[in-house]
């Protein structure tokens, strides 16, 4: 069965650069969620989309933005990267249950 696909798996960026993370949800899943997990931390909710509209917002910095496209894939855009943005970024999609992607490991140097 198709899972949630995230790309890239790994990303290394320098401070003040921009990064774009992509998420392809399970077909017919109508909701996409983004989470950030710092080293040794629990995942923290960033933002979610339902039917391409933002449905909820968590502790997402103003430097980050996200959107969901007509094909339901979502992108998380991160600008003016800081060292503290280094983390695992997970996308999840849901219909009746949650499925997480394998995550993108972002390292800011």
């Amino acid at each position: 069965a198709a899972g949630v696909i995230q790309s890239p798996r790994h990303l290394i960026k320098e401070k003040r650069e921009t990064a774009t993370l992509k998420c392809y949800p399970i077909p017919r899943h109508d909701t996409v969620y983004w989470y950030q997990q710092g080293p040794g931390q629990d995942p923290q909710f960033l933002i979610s989309f339902y039917e391409k509209m933002q449905s909820d917002k968590g502790s997402i910095p103003d430097r980050f933005s996200a959107q969901q496209f007509s094909d339901y894939h979502s992108e998380l855009n991160m600008s003016s990267l800081e060292l503290g943005d280094s983390a695992l970024y997970f996308c999840a999609s849901s219909s009746r249950g949650y499925t997480f992607g394998s995550g993108t490991r972002l390292t800011v140097v």
Partner: protein
Amino acid sequence: SQQGEEDPQALSIQEGENATMNCSYKTSINNLQWYRQNSGRGLVHLILIRSNEREKHSGRLRVTLDTSKKSSSLLITASRAADTASYFCATGSEKLVFGKGTKLTVNP
């Protein structure tokens, strides 16, 4: 974390032993889920227990829920080295709020 604490934060046991992890939460819930995460990898859903359930089993997993104490426990019986991972509880019907997690090491 808005969830509360999980304990223990780290647990090291021998293969064949049972592992018990606890989770507390702060708000009223409809259900509580447990996830497993291998080091640096994705979150894998293990089991969901609804607020009107007190205990649930799935293979070697046993989850209990005490809504009066706002706590849950995950028991892994007859542990295996492959069970080595971090285990998180999470609540929420839409966005999930995770606990701090327990890092379980099962030694061969």
